[in-house]
């Protein structure tokens, strides 16, 4: 009981879908009209939906817990209820400890004030007092890397600078319970890395973190346990890896609407010697099985394989043709299977597998599956960054200066 930091018990939240009366001009006729036609007002009540249904979970002190789910699954609603911005329609929430929510960290900024003034403003909004902010001011400014512009009104900032300042303030609040929503999607790569480090250090300091993100990489790096939400209901609560796998499996669409294609990709599977999987260590070897099936007679075929990162940037591409396999032909009803072996030496991240079958001599793609699968790379402690260069330490020696040697001798 005492070690519970956050708890939700059978929480329900109902929203109204349609436009409610938001002006007196509409309300007055509706009310007077309603006296004669009761059902008119009742009709409004039916247009509602449940954003959350029977959500229960528990987070222990010092634990990092992730919530993942598609847009509209109810993630933000949970955060808003926990941070008391909204009241649940039904159910109970318990929060033990000073709670701080990083939900849109630059929400409190005022355009016309300078960076420094906004640090004080936002810091106060996030629950710090003036003395606390003053003592951390230098840290906050240097974390944001905005020393030069700190006395410039923030309306002149770029959006990245804006967000950086926001996160810097928020990261220096010392909360016991921290709620984080999508703040890490700001700034450049380096800044994101530092944000993650800061979050881990907050965690190490004994705080409880509830983390909501689309960024599976970040969730799996920070959180030990996670919850998958589906349309306002809890789908699974478990260790982060299995929840992430669950989520990724969900994201793969079944092949449909391929009936009229002369040849189609009937199956794509990612595996290693242990069997089918989606999470790999950086540098591991993966097998990608692609099965294609023909409906008509097709000639000079090739299979193309691409890997793209979260920003849809293509990081790798190969095909049967470049791998030396000549163009092949298929008869109706015939299937063909390829196994590609890839050494996944990307750095940690989420990668989408894109598979195409077509005739590449005439630039005709018969069928494309994107994403055919999602591959999730976990970093090893030795590897940071976008690629794995397989680092090895081959020499480490002390070099003594000869003059220094003489003086010492």
């Amino acid at each position: 009981m005492a070690d519970v930091a956050l708890r939700m018990e059978h929480v329900y939240k109902k929203f109204r879908k349609g436009e409610v009366f938001n002006s007196l001009r509409d309300l007055v006729p509706a009310l007077t009209g309603g006296m004669f036609r009761r059902q008119d007002l009742a009709g409004h009540d039916q247009r509602e939906f449940w954003a959350l249904q029977d959500v229960s979970f528990e987070i222990k002190h010092g634990e990092a817990f992730g919530i993942i789910g598609h847009n509209g699954a109810g993630k933000s609603t949970i955060l808003k209820i926990l941070s008391r911005i909204m009241k649940p329609t039904k159910g109970k929430t318990v929060v033990n400890g000073r709670l701080s929510a990083l939900i849109e960290v630059s929400a409190g900024f005022h355009e016309d004030l300078t960076g420094r003034e906004n640090i004080f403003l936002n810091g106060t909004i996030l629950g710090m007092n003036k003395r606390e902010i003053e003592s951390k001011l230098d840290q906050i400014i240097s974390f944001s890397e905005l020393e030069e512009f700190i006395d410039t009104p923030v309306k002149r900032y770029s959006s990245g600078m804006y967000a950086r300042l926001g996160f810097s303030v928020a990261a220096h609040v010392d909360p016991e319970v921290l709620i984080v929503d999508e703040v890490l999607s700001v700034g450049d790569h380096m800044f994101q890395q530092r944000c993650m480090e800061r979050m881990s250090s907050i965690l190490k300091g004994g705080a409880t973190v509830l983390f909501v993100s689309h960024n599976l990489k970040a969730v799996s790096e920070l959180c030990s346990r996670a919850m998958l939400l589906k349309k306002g209901e809890v789908a699974i609560i478990s260790g982060t890896d299995s929840v992430v796998r669950h989520y990724l499996k969900d994201a793969q669409e079944p092949c449909a609407g391929d009936e009229n294609k002369p040849v189609y990709i009937s199956q794509v599977k990612v595996s290693d010697e242990m069997g089918e999987r989606s999470t790999f260590e950086s540098g591991q070897t993966a097998w990608i099985d692609v099965e294609v099936t023909a409906r008509e007679r097709v000639q000079k075929l090739g299979v193309l394989l691409c890997l793209a990162d979260e920003r849809q940037y293509q990081v790798f591409q190969t095909s049967t043709e470049v791998l030396g396999y000549s163009r092949f032909s298929l008869h109706p009803g015939e299937s063909y299977r390829f196994r590609f072996e890839l050494r996944l030496n990307m750095g940690q991240g989420t990668f989408y597998l894109d598979v195409k079958i077509g005739r590449f001599d005439i630039q005709k793609v018969y069928h494309r599956k994107a994403p055919a699968a999602t591959v999730f790379i976990r970093s090893t402690s030795a590897v940071r960054g976008a690629v794995n260069c397989f680092p090895r330490l081959v020499e480490a020696d002390t070099i003594l200066d000869s003059r220094l040697q003489e003086r010492c001798g």
Binding site: R25, I85, M86, E117, I125
Partner: protein
């Protein structure tokens, strides 16, 4: 009894966030003075305009009554114009305060009455700035002092209490009904005709009591008496204003707090 316990809870919560309250007030003041090139003149502009129109009106009265306009009339208009300007600006400003802080209302938890109250405080700051100018003006036209000045803090405080109450009501109502803003605007524009700013209630003879029903009227009359050395309005009327303002404050606060949980979803 339950309500009293709840009230205490609200106040404790507000007290916890008082640092934020002052911070938002400071922000509102700072932003206002930063945005306008005129700086502090901003606080004086509106009262000056009101005083000037008041002098024109007063001149017209004097002309039709075939008497000369005297400095007591001018002083009276000037003294009443400032609190009226404060009232108008604080109600207007607090009416929009929740909407213009939408981001904060929907994203971060804290007692939301901070916004309308900070708006009133920022307007109060303007009032103090303008009062400085008024004192110089009154000194220049040589209006004497009197012991009646001791009433000023009480009268001003009552106006502030009234502004806070109305501010909370209109800000909460304005969040749910977008046209409240326009209604408030119209009321504020024409309110000056129903409030003794340009005139005194005694000018309408025994109908004065109808005008004094406007809770702002006895307060403004009282303030003007302090400089023109007219007798104060009946203390009963001032007590009436005080009671009215207190009810507005407490009622407005409860109204605001009652609606507050629905703010984030309705905005």
């Amino acid at each position: 009894m339950r309500q009293r316990g709840q009230m205490r809870e609200y106040l404790r919560e507000f007290n916890k966030y008082r640092g934020l309250f002052w911070m938002i007030t400071y922000r509102d003041i700072k932003v206002r003075y930063k945005q306008s090139v005129m700086g502090f003149l901003w606080a004086i502009l509106m009262p000056v305009l009101i005083v000037m129109s008041g002098i024109v009106v007063r001149y017209a009265y004097a002309f039709t009554a075939h008497v000369a306009i005297n400095k007591a009339d001018v002083a009276s208009v000037a003294v009443k114009a400032l609190p009226w300007a404060f009232l108008v600006s604080s109600i207007r400003f607090s009416c929009n305060s929740l909407m213009s802080n939408k981001q904060l209302v929907t994203k971060i938890y804290f007692p939301k009455e901070i916004f309308p109250l900070a708006a009133v405080m920022a307007s109060l700051f303007d009032l103090f700035v303008a009062s400085g100018a008024l004192l110089i003006f009154l000194f220049a036209i040589r209006v004497g002092w009197s012991v009646l000045l001791l009433w000023v803090p009480l009268l001003l405080a009552t106006i502030v209490v009234f502004a806070c109450g109305i501010g909370m009501i209109v800000s909460a109502a304005g969040l749910f009904f977008r046209d409240v803003k326009y209604i408030v605007e119209v009321l504020l524009t024409f309110g000056i005709f129903f409030t003794p700013v340009f005139y005194d209630t005694r000018m309408v003879g025994d109908k004065a009591k109808w005008l004094l029903l406007n809770p702002v009227a006895p307060l403004l009359e009282g303030l003007s008496s302090c400089v023109t050395r007219q007798p104060l309005p009946d203390p009963l009327w001032i007590a009436y204003s005080l009671a009215f303002s207190t009810v507005a404050l407490v009622g407005g606060y409860l109204f605001f707090k009652h609606l507050e949980p629905a703010f984030a979803e309705s905005i």
